[in-house]
Amino acid sequence: MKKKVAFYWCASCGGCEEAVVDLAEFLLDALEQIEIVFWPVAMDFKIEDVEQLTDGEIFASFINGAVLLSDQEEVVRLLRRKSQVVVAFGSCSHQGGVPGLINTHDRQDVFDYYYHNGPTVQRNGNEMPTPTGAKAFHVALPEYYGKARPLNQVIEVDYYIPGCAPPPNVVKDALLQLLSDSPPPRGTVLAGAHSLCSECPLNETKPPEGFKIKQFVRPSQVTHIDPDTCLLMQGLPCLGPVTRSGCNALCIKGHMPCTGCFGPLDGVRDFGAAALSFLASLIDSNDEAEIQRIIDEGLPDPLGTFYMYSFPGSLLNEVLQKGRQKARAWREREETVEAQTTENQ
């Protein structure tokens, strides 16, 4: 019997759907073994079709995108019930991804930007998308949570396929591993085990140790990138040393530094901290003022540089959440104490 699989997208750009299509002939071969039962972007199945399946009837659900809206949460919970295996597909599902940077903004600000202030927004007077307005068109608006979550903060996840988007070779390998008789242990990130440098063709141009960086440059600031020398040595902040391998150094081959879409290596809790740590250590100065200048000029946006794909799932985000809780608890305590003092007077 063919194994049933489902594909679903949450807050994503669509690149991960493209990644499935990019499997090309392999997908056709795979269809000998699998049967697609749900794939909103490409096939006409409805939620009701999934609801009618028995629990665990789907072999594997591949879910991409971060969870940002209430309907996404509902569907992924449903897919979890119906599936033996849930695979977080792509950076957003794996760690929060690019849409996860929304978490650093205020929910109302985001809303205002998209419906009022954005440079490309054109509105008729004060017309706003409202649930009532939507009703007139027979559609329901899901709730916008304002915070993007990686899939494993919403449901239990069995495997991860990293990448923004996962390149075909990685998806193919992952599918073969999952369909094999001895699938990898649950929790595995289905890509390389070493850092990207280990499979980068420029790695041998890098001295084993001891090189330093005097000035960081962004790709847009340089007119010439030497294609035969490690990009890091040219001052481009390449995150290859702390990024999981598997993509065969795709970006490097396109003369762009790695921005870390494959996420951290096993055992690293916070990708951004690891990236920040190694990059800062390479700065070629011992003087505080000079180091600060090199940082301010070359790395003006540490959050965007180091947490581009991983903010919602990061330790840094957890720190901020804990901080808010702590501050709230303290404020409440102070208010009670204040109320009691007034009462006693």
């Binding site: 109302q108 939507a134 540490p302 901020l320 901080g323 808010r324």
Partner: protein
């Protein structure tokens, strides 16, 4: 009303700042009780993640202590630490954390007095700042567009 007493995590290098703390103890110096010390071999051992874990687990401020420039037991561990510290502080500031919650000081083995002053001063700064997170904007309440059922 009870006042806020901050928790300070000190990440001190084994050869200098930790010894200064030891000396302060032996000399029975009195200083702010807010400090909890973690000893590391060298300030160069301090990964930015250590600082995040400290805040994650309840610290209100993190004090990093290493050997004076040029004095690191492992030649340049303190310089590496300085570079990471400056970049980490920039990141923390970017996400809304008050940069005064992290502090880096070079304190040699004989500078028990400096340690005392630094800790007292840091504790005072943190008392003014309040509990970790006070400076962060409050999480907005979900009130836009409650979910509506589809009308058939």
């Amino acid at each position: 009303m009870d006042t806020f007493e901050p928790k300070i995590v000190g990440l001190f290098c084994n050869w200098c700042t930790y010894l200064a703390a030891d000396l302060a103890g032996i000399s029975r110096m009195k200083y702010s009780h807010n400090l909890r010390i973690v000893r590391v071999m060298c300030s160069g051992r301090i990964h930015p993640e250590f600082v995040l874990w400290a805040f994650r687990n309840g610290a209100d401020g993190v004090l990093i202590g290493g050997c004076h420039p040029g004095d690191c037991h492992y030649i340049e561990g303190n310089y590496k630490n300085l570079r990471r510290f400056l970049l980490l502080r920039k990141l923390l500031e970017q996400v809304g954390i008050d940069p005064r919650r992290v502090r880096l000081e070079w304190i040699s083995a004989s500078e028990a007095d400096k340690l005392k002053q630094v800790v007292n001063d840091f504790a005072e700064t943190l008392r003014e700042l309040g509990p970790f997170g006070t400076e962060l904007p409050e999480e907005p309440v979900l009130d836009i567009h409650p979910k509506e059922e589809a009308v058939s």
